[in-house]
């Protein structure tokens, strides 16, 4: 039903109630259209945004950074605004409400939050709402990219407007049926009710509500004060499927004829296949159906994955070199240090704090490895995969296969984690090429070793920070970042910006990188003259945005320096932050964790507290942790207290889950999880080597405090939890051990025998 046609405007466009937020940050309008269909179906189109800068106040004032004025999410909301057919909602005759969501669900609870918004505005039971992931729809342009903590921010207004429009039509249909004024009817629980007690459920009204001639009053979403469901902790709508094994991920799909497939990959990143010396012998192995060469390696298709894996292991492949064969961690570190601009010389007699930091490469390591199902025929193709940029995936795959765009269908499948990984569609493209070469449907699985070694990584970074201070005031704060280039060649999710990002010489990617850095990284403190700059170094190593992108390392490092500045000026780290934070809203989350976490309580030697703050995408959080370093072989964060203010929380339970997830990311990457690059390939190959936190590494006591709504628009939350937790854990470790944390992960020994290349 997502095809729009013969649209009739229903109701006047009017600014939604979120038009003027407390921060004055946005003003939006939406139009809802009726779709020609036998039962009620609507689409909503978003209007223009107007952005206004926010005022700042001062200690020694720091001018607003770019990200204070307009953040990356604001840009995405703006970029998505003009696209028509944004959202599609249908009410079926049995009362089921279907909503096609042009985003990916990777575990962050987006479908639940969207179902809540729909149920809220329709006054329908949450259980009657089905949220389905939309196929790739190129007409949506920038509006089908899942990233930058932006989905709820960009959808909050349009989804509510769409559902409010549907409710208005259902009420109008009941009014016409009963010959009563619509204003006298009420809705609750999926039913329209008349003053005399007559009722009609939505399903029974759906056909009448679709009548083009229906007279409908203007519809606008409820004010937040009338929200009954939004803002209430709500369990995931897909939880039952997940605990019963019914939830289908890409490789669980039953696509007729699709056979298991794995790929033998090169011994160094990006190495090319020169030849296979035992092709006939491998083709004769039990269950083997096809062995074909693709640009990324040698693919084996077999009756079972077990047989495909055996055949892959038996392959004898001659490999050519890759683009980074000589690169190891030491060279990367040297290049990054050389690329870090020098700091300004401090004035004579002005005390200052200096620090340099190194962060290792990190795997995204979602539990579900890269996977895709592809069915490529001579004249058409169909792809299934977990995709956060499905439009550019479809456009790229169509071009690669030499098929017209309208002959390629790309289905978005709910995924087993992403953390940024699924912005790229490496497996979908690879599966399409293999299916084309074998002339049969295939289900491609990257092994864990493939995923860890050949998957993309969070780039290694080097940081140089200098802060000057005098008489208890901070005069300047300089931060120079050098990073292995982050690959943004998915663009904004479609082919135009992806092509721009792929311009020769890396100019396009570098421009996008600077934009991302400037629109996400900012300091929350009044530290006088504050400068943060990024210099990226191309390396040939496959990288990609990793949850919180630049902020985890950049802001994590800054929070460590904040503690060291506090020490240099003889101040308590909590009170020092309190003094220099810019707003009361920032101080509120900090005060909350200090109070609830009993900041300053006595702990045994070798144990300590740490505290940190972070703000991004119109949201803010503070984190207080306690760490136990008494066993150097098993350092553990034992307790965590987090406070979070997202302006307007939609689902506090989901928000809490995101913060706990960010905390676990921070525990892992700060203490033990990273990749060693050795002569063009990571040494790590599985979770026994890439030391992601397990139950025994995580706190016995975690408390998350979701602050009540302080605004009228939700801020971003998907990545918010990482940077403050990185800072808090590192600061706790510093106090517990008396050492300065400088190189991450802090415990990064090669304590394993690497798998063969």
């Amino acid at each position: 039903m997502a095809e729009q046609s013969g649209a009739t405007a229903t109701g006047s466009a009017r600014p939604s109630d979120d038009g003027q937020g407390a921060t004055g940050s946005s003003r939006r309008s939406f139009l809802t259209y009726l779709v020609a269909a036998p039962t009620l179906a609507l689409i909503t189109r978003a209007g223009a945004d107007v952005l206004a800068p926010q005022p700042a106040h001062a200690v020694i004032p720091t001018l607003p950074a770019v990200a204070d004025l307009v953040d990356l999410g604001d840009l995405f909301i703006l970029a998505g605004a003009p696209t028509s057919a944004l959202l599609a909602l249908a009410v079926e005759t049995d009362g089921t409400i279907r909503f096609r969501l042009p985003r990916e669900e990777v575990g962050q609870g987006l479908t639940t939050a969207v179902a809540m918004l729909v149920a809220e505005e329709l006054d329908a039971p949450l259980g009657s709402v089905r949220v389905e992931l939309d196929d790739a729809r190129p007409e949506l342009l920038f509006n089908q990219l899942t990233g930058s903590s932006n989905s709820i921010r960009s959808l909050y207004g349009p989804v509510r407007q769409c559902a409010a429009g549907a409710r208005a039509r259902l009420v109008a249909a009941a009014a016409a049926r009963w010959n009563l004024p619509a204003s006298r009817l009420t809705t609750a629980g999926g039913v329209v009710r008349a003053p005399d007690g007559r009722t009609a459920d939505y399903g029974s009204l759906s056909a009448e509500a679709a009548a083009p001639g229906l007279i409908v009053l203007g519809a606008s979403p409820k004010p937040a004060a009338r929200h009954a469901l939004v803002g209430t902790p709500t369990r995931r709508i897909d939880a039952r499927a997940m605990v019963t094994g019914a939830q289908k991920y890409t490789l669980d799909l039953d696509v007729p004829g699709a056979k298991p497939c794995v790929v033998r990959r090169p011994p160094t990143l990006g190495g090319a296949v020169r030849g296979v010396s035992n092709l006939a012998a491998v083709r004769a192995m039990p269950g083997v159906l096809h062995v074909v060469t693709v640009p990324t390696g040698v693919a084996v298709v077999a009756e079972t994955f077990g047989q495909a894996l055996d055949a892959k292991a038996a392959l004898q492949v001659v490999w050519g070199p890759g683009p980074a064969d000589q690169l190891s961690d030491a060279q990367i570190r040297t290049r990054l240090r050389a690329a870090t601009p020098p700091l300004l010389v401090p004035p004579l007699l002005t005390p200052y704090v200096d620090a340099e930091f190194d962060f290792a490469f990190v795997s995204h390591a979602p539990m579900e490895t890269n996977s895709a199902v592809a069915d490529v025929r001579d004249d058409r193709a169909e792809i299934w995969s977990g995709l956060k940029s499905p439009i550019v995936a479809r456009e790229t795959i169509a071009a690669d296969l030499g098929l017209p765009l309208d002959k390629v269908k790309v289905h978005v499948v709910q995924a087993g984690g992403s953390f940024g990984r699924r912005l790229f569609f490496d497996a979908a493209l690879e599966a399409a090429r293999i299916s084309k070469a074998c002339r049969r449907p295939v289900k491609l699985m990257w092994t864990r070793v493939d995923d860890t070694r050949h998957g993309r990584m969070r780039p290694a970074t080097h940081h140089r920070i200098r802060a000057t201070h005098l008489l208890g005031e901070v005069l300047s704060f300089e931060h120079r970042v050098a990073a292995a280039e982050t690959d943004f060649r998915h663009g904004l999710g479609e082919i135009i910006t992806a092509t721009a990002a792929s311009l020769p010489s890396g100019i396009g990617n570098a421009t996008l990188a600077q934009t991302l850095f400037l629109t996400t990284v900012k300091s929350p403190y009044h530290f006088g003259l504050t400068t943060q700059t990024l210099n990226e170094v191309p390396t040939g190593i496959p990288t990609g945005s990793w949850r919180s992108v630049y902020s985890a390392n950049t802001r994590g490092a800054e929070e460590i320096v904040v503690d060291e500045l506090a020490a240099a000026t003889g101040k308590d780290p909590y009170r020092f932050r309190r003094t220099f934070l810019k707003t009361d809203a920032q101080r509120a989350v900090l005060d909350k964790v200090a109070a609830e976490g009993e900041w300053g309580r006595a702990l045994p030697a070798g144990c300590a507290q740490g505290i940190a703050f972070h703000e991004e995408y119109k949201s803010r959080t503070a984190c207080l942790v306690e760490i136990d370093t008494r066993d150097p072989e098993h350092v553990r964060v034992t307790r965590a207290v987090i406070a979070v203010d997202v302006g307007l929380p939609v689902n506090p339970s989901g928000l809490e889950a995101q913060m706990i997830g960010g905390l676990t990311d921070a525990i892992s990457t700060t203490l033990r999880a990273g990749l060693h690059l050795d002569k063009g390939l990571p040494l790590e190959g599985s979770y026994s080597q890439f030391h992601w936190a397990k139950q025994r590494d995580t706190p016995l006591d975690v408390r998350v405090f979701v602050l009540p709504a302080t605004g009228t628009d939700p801020g971003g939350a998907g990545e918010l939890g990482v940077p403050a937790a990185v800072g808090a854990i590192a600061n706790a470790w510093a106090r517990a051990t008396g050492s300065k944390p400088r190189s991450f992960p802090l415990d990064f020994d090669v304590d394993f025998t690497p798998y063969p290349r």
């Binding site: 039952r240 019963t244 984690g417």
Partner: protein, 151 residues
């Protein structure tokens, strides 16, 4: 090709497969039982955790020949029809799952733990080594505590 007969979630099955074919691929590729997930293939991530005669095992490293005459229980066989196992109920109550990919294995590991001890300590729960990349560990801990209380 050798033939192997065993039960999967109460149903008797016979499959023709090499002796050393891991149970995970028999379940997923031959029997269409997709609840157990591939996450590593080497008994490290433990996402495929299932039960063999009531004991938790990792089907990615159990050869199908080792299952002959035994009972294999996967996440699909844990509930009694529509009535969920108390551990599944506890998982819903604590809203544990994020991406959900590891949760079948986490739940099967928790059920096995609660069979061994009705009052698991923090150390017992710490010993569950199943990876959750989303980091739901604290809610898993709370769900196990809750399930222990209700069982």
């Amino acid at each position: 090709m050798p033939s192997h007969t065993f039960t999967v979630n109460g149903r008797s099955v016979t499959v023709d497969a090499p002796d050393d074919l891991p149970l995970l691929w028999v379940l997923r590729d031959m029997l269409g039982v997709t609840g157990p997930k591939y996450g590593c293939g080497v008994d490290v991530c433990k996402a495929c955790t299932s039960h063999l005669d009531g004991t938790d095992v990792r089907p990615c490293v159990v050869p199908v020949s080792a299952c002959a005459g035994k009972r294999v229980t996967t996440i699909e066989g844990l509930a009694d029809g529509d009535v969920l196992h108390p551990v599944q109920e506890a998982w819903l109550e604590q809203d544990v799952a994020q991406c959900g990919f590891c949760q079948p294995g986490q739940i099967m590991a928790a059920v096995a733990l609660l069979r061994r001890t009705s009052e698991p300590t923090d150390e017992d729960i710490d010993a569950i080594a199943n990876i959750c990349r989303c980091g739901t560990y604290f809610r898993i801990r709370e769900a196990i505590r809750s399930a222990a209380a209700r069982m």
